[in-house]
C-alpha cells in the first residue's frame, strides 16, 4: 500500500463523512447538514490544493496512488489525475458543496439524504480519478445507487418511475461495458499471467493486437454505456424524467457531473483503447451528436415545464460535447472538455434556479409563471446571466466551449467529408438554443406579474452564496479560458496520440 495520495483522501473524506452522519442520531438535523457541507468543502479544499500542485506540462497522471489489491486477477487500486480529469474533479468538488447548500430545505430523512449525497461524491470523484478499468467500473456503478435513491425518495410525483428508469437504462449500458472489460482482461491474461485492468498498459500492448472487428465491438460495448450516460440521441429518454423528478440537488449533480462521466469515458477509454475503431466510428458518433443538438433544442423549446426544458437542453448541450470529442483533434477535444465544465456550471446553475423558483411558487409550469422579474429582480438577473451562458453568449463560458467545438469539428479530419455540413447543422443548434432560452426567459420573467406571485421573496443570502461561485466561474471562463485550456493541453495531446490525424489539411 504505497503512500496515500491526496486523491485517496479526497475519496475517503466524503465516505468518512457519510459514515459519521450514519452514526449520528437522526434528529440532529443541524449537525448532519453541517457535517455534510463541511465534508464537501473539505474535499473542495483538497481539490484546490490539487490544483496548486498540478503540473500542466506533464501529460501523464499525477498524484498517483497505486495498490495491487487483487493480485490474483491483476486488479489494482490506481488513482491519478491528469489534464483530462483535472477540471472535472474540480467541478465535482465545487458542485457538491453547492448542491448540499441547496439541499438545506430538505426536511424529510435528512440523515439518509446527506449520507447518500456524500457517498455519491465519493463515487463521482472515483469515476474521474480511477486509472484501472475494474476500479472505474466499480465507481461507475457505485454512483448509480445513491442517485437512484435520491431521485426515488426525495423526488417529484413520478419519482419511482424516473428512478427505476434511470437505474435500468444505465444498467443496460454498463453491463455491456462490463463484458467488454472482462473481454479485455481475458485477452490480457495470456500476456501478463494474471491479467490486468490497466488501461494504459492495454493501450500500449493490447490494442495494437486487436483486430479491427474486435476493436469495433469493444468500442461499441464501452460506447453504449457511455452513450446512455451522456446521453446521446436516441438513448436519452431516461434523462428528462430523471431530471424532472429528481430533487434540485439531484438534478444539479445529474446534469453537472453524471452526464460528464459518459463523455469522459469516451475520451478516456474508447479513444485510447480502440483508436482505429474510434477513427472509423467518429462520423456516426458526430452525426448522432448533431441530431442530439437539434433534437434536444427542438424538444426543449416545446416544453411547458421549466425543469423539463432545462433537461432537454442538456441533451442538446451534451451533443456539442460529443461533437467536439468526435472531432478527435486537440481543438475539438479540449473544447469539449471545457464545454463539459461549462455545461456543469450553466445547466447546474439553471437547475438550482429552477429549484429556488419552485420552492417559492410550487409550480414549474410556464403557463402559471411570468412577470417574475418584477417580483424577483436579483433572481431574474441571475437567471438571465445563467441562461445566456447556456445559450453560448460570447463573453460567457458557454461560448468558449461551443465555438471552439464548432471550430474543431469544422476542421476535423476524422469527420471528413461531412465535417462542414455537420458543423453547420450544429451551429444552427446555437440559434435554436437562443430560441428556447429566450422563450424560457420570456415565459418566466417577462409579461405582467400575476397577482399571486406579488409578494414572493427574492433570493436569500444562502441562495446568493450558492449562485455566486457559479456566476464568477461563468464569467471567468468566458473572459479568460486560457488557464483552463493550458492545464488540459498536454494530457489531451498525449491521449489523442493514438487517434491523431493530420488536422491542418485545410491550410
Amino acid at each position: 500500500m504505497a503512500d496515500f495520495s491526496i486523491l485517496t483522501w479526497m475519496l475517503l473524506l466524503p465516505l468518512g463523512g457519510a459514515l459519521l452522519i450514519l452514526g449520528l442520531p437522526r434528529d440532529r438535523v443541524g449537525a448532519i447538514r453541517w457535517i455534510a457541507l463541511g465534508t464537501s468543502v473539505g474535499v473542495l479544499a483538497l481539490a484546490l490544493g490539487l490544483l496548486l500542485g498540478f503540473d500542466p506540462a506533464q501529460p501523464g497522471p499525477q498524484f498517483v496512488h497505486h495498490w495491487n489489491w487483487a493480485p490474483s486477477i491483476g486488479a489494482a487500486y490506481r488513482v491519478g489525475v491528469d489534464g483530462i480529469s483535472l477540471w472535472l474533479v474540480l467541478l465535482t468538488a465545487l458542485i457538491f458543496p453547492l448542491a448540499l447548500a441547496a439541499s438545506w430545505t430538505i426536511e424529510d430523512r435528512v440523515k439518509e439524504y446527506m449520507a447518500l449525497m456524500l457517498l455519491l461524491e465519493t463515487g463521482v470523484l472515483g469515476v474521474f480519478l480511477a486509472l484501472d478499468l475494474l476500479l472505474f467500473y466499480i465507481f461507475w456503478e457505485f454512483t448509480l445507487v445513491p442517485m437512484t435513491l435520491l431521485i426515488g425518495i426525495w423526488g417529484g410525483p413520478r419519482r419511482v418511475y424516473a428512478a427505476v428508469k434511470f437505474f435500468l437504462y444505465t444498467m443496460a449500458g454498463s453491463v455491456f461495458m462490463l463484458v467488454a472489460i472482462v473481454a479485455l482482461w481475458l485477452l490480457s491474461r495470456p500476456l501478463t499471467g494474471t491479467g490486468t485492468f490497466d488501461p494504459a498498459w492495454m493501450a500500449a500492448h493490447l490494442s495494437p493486437l486487436l483486430s479491427q472487428e474486435a476493436q469495433r465491438w469493444l468500442f461499441l460495448a464501452f460506447g453504449l454505456a457511455f452513450a446512455i450516460k451522456v446521453p446521446m440521441w436516441p438513448l436519452h429518454s431516461w434523462l428528462p424524467d430523471a431530471h424532472v423528478e429528481a430533487p434540485t440537488a439531484g438534478s444539479v449533480i445529474l446534469a453537472a457531473l453524471l452526464l460528464k462521466m459518459g463523455a469522459y469515458g469516451f475520451l478516456r477509454f474508447n479513444f485510447s483503447l480502440f483508436p482505429t475503431a474510434a477513427q472509423e466510428l467518429a462520423l456516426p458518433l458526430a452525426i448522432l451528436a448533431v441530431v442530439a443538438i437539434l433534437y434536444g433544442a427542438l424538444a426543449s423549446y416545446a416544453q411547458d415545464d421549466f425543469k423539463r426544458l432545462v433537461a432537454f437542453s442538456s441533451v442538446s448541450h451534451m451533443g456539442f460535447v460529443m461533437l467536439g470529442l468526435s472531432a478527435m483533434n486537440p481543438l475539438g477535444v479540449q473544447a469539449a472538455l471545457l464545454q463539459m465544465v461549462n455545461h456543469g456550471l450553466s445547466t447546474g446553475g439553471l437547475f438550482l434556479l429552477v429549484g429556488m423558483l419552485y420552492e417559492r411558487t410550487h409550480t414549474r409550469d410556464f403557463r402559471e409563471l411570468g412577470g417574475l422579474w418584477k417580483a424577483l429582480p436579483v433572481y431574474g438577473g441571475i437567471l438571465i446571466v445563467v441562461g445566456l451562458s447556456s445559450m453560448g453568449l460570447p463573453g460567457l463560458n458557454g461560448f468558449v466551449g461551443e465555438f471552439l467545438v464548432l471550430l474543431g469539428a469544422f476542421g476535423s479530419a476524422a469527420l471528413r467529408p461531412a465535417a462542414h455540413g455537420l458543423t453547420a447543422l450544429a451551429a444552427f443548434g446555437v440559434v435554436l438554443a437562443a430560441v428556447y432560452i429566450l422563450t424560457m426567459i420570456l415565459r418566466v420573467l417577462h409579461g405582467p406579474l400575476p397577482e399571486r406571485w406579488r409578494g414572493l421573496p427574492d433570493l436569500n443570502g444562502r441562495e446568493l452564496a450558492i449562485m455566486a461561485p457559479l456566476l464568477v466561474l461563468i464569467l471567468l471562463i468566458g473572459l479568460y479560458p486560457l488557464p483552463f485550456f493550458a492545464a488540459m493541453q498536454a494530457s489531451v495531446q498525449y491521449g489523442l496520440a493514438a487517434v491523431a490525424q493530420p488536422i491542418w489539411a485545410l491550410r
Binding site: A70, I138, F142, G152
Partner: protein, 470 residues
C-alpha cells in the same frame, strides 16, 4: 484418516442427534437453548471445515467421498446458510406458535446431508446425500402446519422430489448397467477410454441425472416447484432452501458433470447451455410479475441457477473458483434478504407481498439499507460480492467461448434489476407510515448485520486474500 472428509457431516449429524436427545428431555417452553445448541454445532462444523481447509485433497472410505478445495468452499457456504437460518428461526417459530425443538434437529440434519453432498465421490453417495438433505427439508417445508400453504408446499416438494429422485436412481442404474461403475472418478476414467458400445446407456443415464439435479438446482424446465414451495414454507426455511440447497445441488452438478462426466463435457454443454439460457430468461422474466417477496426470491433463485449453470460451462480455471465464490456471495445476499423478510414479517399473519414492505425503511432504515445491499448484490452491482461473483462467471463463460450465453446473462441481469429494485422501491419509496412494526429481534438484526457487512466486503476481501488462487 479416511473419514476426515466426513468430519463436518459427522459433527452436524452427531450434534443433531444430541439435540434430538435433549429435546426428548427438555422441559416444555422456550427452545432458545436448542437454538444456541444448533448454533454451537454449526460453529463447530465451521471450525472443522476450516481446519480441513489446508489439507488439500483427501480421498476417503473406499473412494466414496473426497475432500478438495471445492468441498471446502461448498461446506463453508452451506454452514453459513445453516447458521443464519438458525438465527432467523429462533423468534420466527416462537411468534407463530410452531416452536418445536425438532426444527433445529432437522435443520442440522439437512445441512449434514448437504455437507455430505459436498464431498460425495460416488453416485450412490450422491443419491443418498440427496435423499438425506431432502427428507428434513420436506418436513421443514411443512413445519408451519397446520397452515395449509405450508402443508401444500411440503407435499408438492415431496411428490416432485420423489419423482426427481426416481429419475436419479434410474439414471444411476443405466450408468451402472452400461459401465458397471458408480464411482465418479472411475466413471471419468472409463469415459476417457474409447468404448463406444455402451455409451448410449451412459448418455441416457446422464440425461436422467441431469433431470434430477436440474430439479434440485431449480433449472428450467424442472423449476416449477420452486416458487410454490418457497412461498409456502416458513420464511427461514425458504431462505435455507434457496441458499444452502442450491449450493448442495450445485455441488452435485459439479461432482457428477464436471468430475464424473468431465471427459464428456462437450456433449453436455449443449443442453446445459440451453437450460442455462432458459433458466436465466424464465427466472428473471417471471420474477418481474411477482408481487410477493418470497415468490420473487424463488424466481430469483431460479435465475441464479441459470447463472451458475452458465458458470459451470466456463473455463475451469475461472469457473471453479468463480462458482464457489458465487455461491457464497449468493448465500449471503439471499440469507440476508430473507433475514430482512423475517425481521419485517408481522408475527400475526405474515404478509410477504410488496405492499406490506411499503415505507418500511422509514421506520427501520437499517433494514432498508441492508435490503438494498442484498438486492444490489443479487443484481450484481459493485462493490457488493454479487458483482465480483458475476464478473467471474461471465469471464469464465466468455473465456470458454459462450458469448451468446454471456449476452443472455447480461440482458437478463438488466431485467433482474427491475424486480430487485421493486423491493428497494417499496421499502424506501413506498407510501407507508413510519415504524408500523416492532423492530426486529436482536438475533435477526445480528444476521442482517452479518450478511450485510459480508455482502459489502466479501468480494473485496476475497480478492485481496487471494481470489482465484484460493
Amino acid at each position: 484418516m479416511v473419514w476426515m472428509p466426513l468430519l463436518p457431516t459427522l459433527i452436524l449429524t452427531a450434534g443433531a442427534l444430541g439435540l434430538l436427545l435433549a429435546e426428548a428431555f427438555r422441559r416444555p417452553g422456550s427452545t432458545t437453548g436448542m437454538a444456541w445448541g444448533a448454533l454451537g454445532i454449526t460453529a463447530l462444523g465451521m471450525g472443522a471445515t476450516s481446519a480441513l481447509a489446508t489439507w488439500g485433497t483427501i480421498e476417503g472410505i473406499y473412494s466414496m467421498v473426497l475432500w478438495d478445495r471445492s468441498a471446502f468452499w461448498l461446506s463453508l457456504t452451506i454452514l453459513v446458510g445453516a447458521g443464519i437460518a438458525i438465527l432467523l428461526s429462533r423468534h420466527y417459530l416462537a411468534d407463530r406458535g410452531i416452536e418445536r425443538g425438532e426444527y433445529y434437529v432437522f435443520l442440522l440434519l439437512a445441512a449434514a446431508g448437504m455437507l455430505l453432498m459436498a464431498v460425495a465421490a460416488d453416485l450412490l453417495i450422491v443419491f443418498l446425500a440427496l435423499e438425506w438433505l431432502s427428507f428434513p427439508l420436506y418436513v421443514l417445508a411443512g413445519f408451519a402446519r397446520p397452515r395449509v400453504e405450508s402443508e401444500e408446499a411440503a407435499l408438492k416438494y415431496f411428490l416432485l422430489g420423489a419423482f426427481a429422485s426416481a429419475f436419479l436412481v434410474f439414471g444411476i442404474a443405466l450408468i451402472f448397467a452400461g459401465t458397471g461403475l458408480t464411482n465418479l472418478n472411475d466413471l471419468a476414467a472409463w469415459l476417457r477410454r474409447p468404448d463406444p458400445d455402451a455409451q448410449p446407456l451412459v448418455w441416457v443415464g446422464g440425461a436422467l441425472l441431469l433431470v434430477a439435479l436440474g430439479f434440485k438446482v431449480a433449472a428450467v424446465p424442472f423449476h416449477l416447484w420452486t416458487p410454490d414451495v418457497y412461498e409456502g414454507a416458513p420464511t427461514p426455511v425458504t431462505g435455507f432452501m434457496a441458499a444452502a440447497t442450491k449450493t448442495a445441488a450445485v455441488a452435485a452438478l459439479i461432482r457428477v458433470f464436471l468430475i464424473g462426466m468431465g471427459p464428456a463435457l462437450a456433449l453436455w454443454s449443449g443442453p446445459v447451455a440451453l437450460m442455462a439460457v432458459a433458466t436465466m430468461i424464465v427466472g428473471n422474466g417471471v420474477a418481474l410479475l411477482q408481487s410477493n417477496f418470497k415468490r420473487m426470491m424463488a424466481y430469483s433463485s431460479i435465475a441464479h441457477a441459470g447463472y451458475l449453470l452458465m458458470g459451470l460451462l466456463g473455463d475451469p480455471a475461472l469457473a471453479v473458483p468463480g462458482v464457489m465464490f458465487y455461491l457464497l456471495a449468493y448465500t449471503l445476499a439471499t440469507m440476508g434478504a430473507f433475514a430482512v423478510a423475517v425481521g419485517m414479517a408481522d408475527p400475526h399473519g405474515e404478509d410477504q407481498s410488496f405492499r406490506a414492505y411499503a415505507g418500511v425503511a422509514r421506520g427501520s432504515p437499517g433494514m432498508g439499507t441492508a435490503m438494498a445491499i442484498f438486492m444490489l448484490s443479487l443484481i450484481g452491482v459493485p462493490p457488493t460480492a454479487g458483482f465480483f461473483a458475476k464478473l467471474l462467471l461471465f469471464a469464465a463463460a466468455w473465456q470458454a467461448g459462450w458469448v451468446a450465453l454471456v449476452m443472455v446473462g447480461i440482458i437478463t441481469t438488466v431485467i433482474s434489476a427491475y424486480f430487485y429494485l421493486r423491493v428497494v422501491v417499496a421499502m424506501w419509496m413506498g407510501p407507508g407510515e413510519a415504524a408500523r412494526l416492532p423492530g426486529p429481534y436482536p438475533w435477526v438484526r445480528f444476521s442482517v448485520a452479518l450478511t450485510g457487512v459480508g455482502t459489502l466486503l466479501l468480494g473485496v476481501l476475497w480478492l485481496m486474500l487471494g481470489g482465484l488462487s484460493l
